[in-house]
Symmetry: C2
Subunit: 412 residues, 2 copies
């Protein structure tokens, strides 16, 4: 029997990824392909052309999510859905997001080449605006599709050039008016998203495929510490209310709060803004960000809830205000999908390990709608959101073999 | 006998300061009067008009330093020089600099009103571009006058609008071509500059006048800590090279290095720039500034020389580069001038205390040329370089009485 994995083509998939990487190429092998831009449209047109080579049907919904459908033998059966996104970070790489779309296309092309007809249809989706790089927040396409948030909520969001999301979406839909329009939302039998890991675990362990066990939860805070501006030459250190020094105390206390011997909890201060930010003036105010993530809901809640009091107790001379502006609870994926992927990896002869996802993905918004899973391929040095992002052609092909085998099993 | 202090007019001096504060007034009682601007020229014209009311001679040098001379009885005697500057910070106050010019003018006006003729001439100077707000660095006028740096060194320095210092100076000199031109440099008998304290010491001690014992030295460093960017959700904390965390370690070590039970050493981190400065990315690089000041040369040298090694020893995962980009040794003022000011304060019935200057002043460039001193009046809450800068009319008058008495003694 021919397995779908046998007809996955490493070179075709790589060539397609490299073809798309030229649309928005930036120095250092990077990609800048903003959602709903002419580059995004050119990439979608290319994908549509490849889909039509195998007779797949193409449609689009009101959020400009693009669907490529390979029919199954039972026209009434709910489809198996796979895919990811095609937009990139402003200084992004060649694989984040687009790999999941091209891997899905390669999987149904492999089924086509092998002459396998599944019972259920298989649909490959390219979700609109996962990155949030042009219009914040990200994951608008999957959120709108899942009924999480109505599209109208973001109509007035502007990109740096002042163009609203509503206007960009309308322009895009007008440019793709030749594609059949489908309603937002559906009830797939299962959803399986392939993605690069964006972390170092698979590479470090020498593993081909990661079977994702869940997406960790996140809590984002912004902290404002207010002191009093003073002349760096004249104000005695003992009289100062220096928010830079109190920020040091606060972060040191947060380091202690978030210390985790298992190194599972992620605590990051990635943004610091000082006012007035001049070398010879004691600052009047400092703002910094906190990004806290953990796969366990109870730990995430307990740790996040302690942040404000920890900061307040650490300050010596200033006052602090702590605002939580994002809270996503940990996401559980569907055990049957996890087991299917794990079994498919064994069937394909690829080494797999289970791990949680550290990053957000469209998949987390699909969880309430359908049994959902993800599979990861290794990221060199864990680097992503960066032109240096890299996964070798053979590693990408391994992931796609497991994806194709998994989709065939889920669609049988 | 009439003392010059008796004819110092609190209201005239205050009215003059408020008249000048309208030239460049900004919200919140602030002043933005860039050097060599039309506003600067209007302020100078006003001061010249007041000077001519008492028959003083006005002249200007190649650096546009403005001199107002009240003749003495001995035309061959070296003059006593006093003054400060008339330009302001972009968001400055009503007293920084301009007080020293108006106090000097008030002092010679008081002598005029009292009918006192000193043996030596007394000259009031307004130095060009002390603040460096329009053209960096500051103190160009006093540096050029003192032969510290030739004017030509700054000819190509541009303001934010692209105008060169050379062009602005030429335009200004052309507009003031009616004033007699005097050569750069002279050999005054003494120099005494009045200024607001720009620190909290006098107010906190309830003292009228500060007798400046020296200007502390400064060393400015910029520190670059380079780590590796990573995804805040996927990179385990233990694998990160996070320059924000290493900056914390570095500043904590510097706090220990600069700890001073006498609270004389000033250590300030006022500027922090994080790259890429996004909340969900571990930073790749952090830059921060160090401003170190102390009145004692040996302590300043020893502490500053230890900075790079202290930082390097503190880092855990990143590498640091430390650059020193400014080094001013502590300035000693002339004991006879200090004693004259202290005695004048007693004669005027004002409380005086001795203190070092924490800020830079034109006076430090006059030190190699002539016996130099400074006197300070209190700054409310130590605030300066800010629209909230304030010294009460009576406090300004007290300082001017001591200045007038001191100038009369130095010129006798």
């Amino acid at each position: 029997m021919t397995r779908p994995a046998d007809t996955v083509s490493e070179s075709r998939q790589w060539d397609r990824l490299m073809t798309l990487a030229r649309l928005g190429a930036i120095p250092g092998d990077g990609v800048n392909r903003p959602c709903l831009s002419p580059l995004d449209r050119a990439a979608r047109r290319q994908v549509i052309a490849w889909a039509r080579e195998i007779g797949a049907e193409v449609s689009i919904d009101d959020a400009a999510n693009l669907f490529i459908r390979r029919a199954g033998s039972d026209p009434d059966a709910a489809p198996v859905l796979t895919g990811s996104h095609m937009d990139s970070q402003p200084e992004g790489g060649r694989f984040d997001g687009i790999y999941g779309v091209i891997a899905g296309l390669e999987a149904i092309t492999a089924l086509h080449d092998a002459g396998i007809v599944t019972r259920r249809p298989i649909e490959v989706v390219a979700w609109t605006n996962e990155e949030g790089g042009r219009f914040a927040p990200g994951c608008m396409g999957s959120m709108a599709w899942a009924g999480h948030t109505p599209l109208s909520a973001w109509a007035a969001v502007r990109d740096p050039a002042g163009i609203t999301f509503g206007a960009a979406l309308a322009e895009h839909l007008a440019a793709e008016a030749d594609l059949p329009r489908r309603p937002l939302g559906s009830r797939p039998h299962a959803y399986l998203e392939a993605h690069i890991e964006q972390g170092p675990m698979l590479e470090a362990a020498g593993i081909d495929v990661g079977v994702v066990t869940g997406i960790q939860g996140s809590r984002w805070f912004s902290v404002t510490i207010t002191g009093a501006s003073a002349h760096a030459g004249t104000a005695p250190v003992g009289t100062r209310q220096d928010p830079v020094q109190d920020m040091l105390r606060a972060i040191a206390a947060l380091n202690a709060l978030t210390a985790d011997p298992t190194d599972t909890l992620r605590f990051t201060v990635g943004r610091i803004d000082v006012l007035p930010n001049t070398s010879n003036t004691v600052a009047s105010q400092v703002r910094f960000s906190i990004d806290l993530r953990h796969p366990d809901r109870a730990i995430l809640l307990r740790t996040g809830d302690a942040i404000a009091a920890t900061i307040t107790a650490a300050l010596k001379t200033c006052r602090a205000e702590v605002q939580e502006h994002f809270h996503a609870i940990p996401v559980r994926v569907a055990p049957p999908v996890v087991e299917t992927v794990a079994a498919a990896a064994i069937a394909c002869g690829h080494r797999a390990m289970r791990l949680p996802s550290g990053a957000f993905h469209d998949a987390q918004f699909v969880v309430p709608i359908a049994p959902t899973g993800m599979l990861f391929v290794p990221s060199r040095a864990g680097i992503s959101h960066n032109p240096a992002e890299y996964t070798a052609p053979a590693q990408l092909a391994a992931g796609t073999r497991v994806l194709a085998e998994s989709l065939a099993r889920l669609a049988s």
